[in-house]
């Protein structure tokens, strides 16, 4: 068997195996990922037909929620916090400590905002999914994150 044929075998056989295992897995992934729903108004936060636990918000709604004293959670790595944080935002590297802190402040079902550096950082979504696994049902991922907040000139707080 030449190496080209081996290459084809080594791609095709495990691919079908992976698809088969995913098919019978209870927590199987859909083959195509769905993007996270984006909401633009705080009216949608209390929607009775809310299906998703995680939704995206933009800077406008983030500011509105901030003015309503909604809890913000910073998902950036600690070394980036020296730039500052959104005032009142909480942070903890340890997911267990962080989740119990959120739970003690607002419970599992109230909306809170998670943010990271910018549109492309990804850690806010990662944290949102981890928190969803721990039982939180109303998580808002602030798309623009820290960059969008500071570019808009909104107030920040020194992290200590």
């Amino acid at each position: 068997m030449n190496f080209r044929l081996q290459f084809i075998y080594l791609i095709i056989v495990p691919s079908f195996l992976g698809l088969g295992v995913n098919f019978i897995n209870q927590n199987s992934l859909p083959l195509v990922a769905k993007s996270i729903e984006e909401i633009t108004s705080s009216d949608h936060l209390k929607s009775s037909n809310q299906l998703a636990n995680i939704r995206k918000i933009d800077i406008k709604l983030a500011l509105e929620l901030y003015s309503k004293k909604t809890l913000f959670v910073d998902a950036r790595a600690e070394e980036y916090l020296s730039d500052g944080i959104i005032p009142g935002a909480i942070f903890n590297d340890d997911i267990e400590i962080l989740s119990s802190k959120i739970d003690s402040v607002i419970g599992l079902d109230s909306a809170f905002v998670v943010y990271c550096s910018d549109d492309d950082c990804g850690s806010s979504e990662d944290l949102a999914f981890e928190l969803q696994d721990l039982g939180f049902t109303n998580i808002l991922v602030f798309s623009g994150g820290w960059k969008s907040w500071t570019d808009s000139g909104y107030e920040i707080q020194k992290y200590e």
Binding site: M1, N2, F3, R4, L5, Q6, F7, I8, Y9, L10, I11, V13, P14, S15, L17, G18, L19, V21, N22, N27, L29, P30, L31, V32, A33, K34, S35, S117, D120, C121, G122, S123, E125, D126, F129
Partner: protein, 153 residues
């Protein structure tokens, strides 16, 4: 292109390279197999795979890594395995490089170390493994190769 004497490496060194490369790929597949959801999100953070296909990649890629890692160690279809590792490593380096150029500060999702970020160190690691792949591919005098058999097996 062949580098001078690169095709005359001692069979035991080739075996060592095979085991290292195989173990790296098996180790890399482990977390991804256990948590494909997390791996799909890691892929998504690269903002490169279109049409929501990160899930599809997250489903099949860890199994490919597991197969080629195991094949390298067991001495089965070594040429095909190192060709696959080579293609994957070039692809991984391209993804890491484009993420760095675009200024993404993201976890690499490589499955080896938790919280490992994209960066020059990752590029160097992948490039080293790519050299291993190439060296194994061009050295046909191998030991412990069981299928297809070589003269030395």
């Amino acid at each position: 292109m062949k580098f001078k004497n690169m095709n005359k490496v001692h069979p035991y060194i080739i075996l060592f390279m095979r085991i290292v490369l195989g173990l790296v790929f098996i180790a890399a597949s482990y977390d991804k197999l256990l948590n494909p959801q997390q791996f799909a999100r890691d892929i998504s953070n690269y903002h490169f795979i279109p049409f929501g296909l990160e899930n599809f990649v997250a489903i099949i890629l860890p199994w490919i890594e597991l197969f080629i890692g195991t094949s390298l160690i067991l001495g089965i279809m070594i040429d095909g395995s190192v060709l696959t590792t080579g293609v994957l490593l070039i692809m991984f380096n391209f993804l890491v490089f484009q993420a760095m150029i675009r200024g993404f500060n993201i976890e690499c999702g490589c499955g080896l170390k938790e919280g490992e970020m994209v960066g020059v160190q990752k590029l160097i690691e992948n490039f080293t493994l790519l050299i291993f792949s190439y060296t194994i591919f061009i050295n046909k005098k191998r030991i412990f190769e069981f299928y297809p058999k070589t003269t030395l097996s």
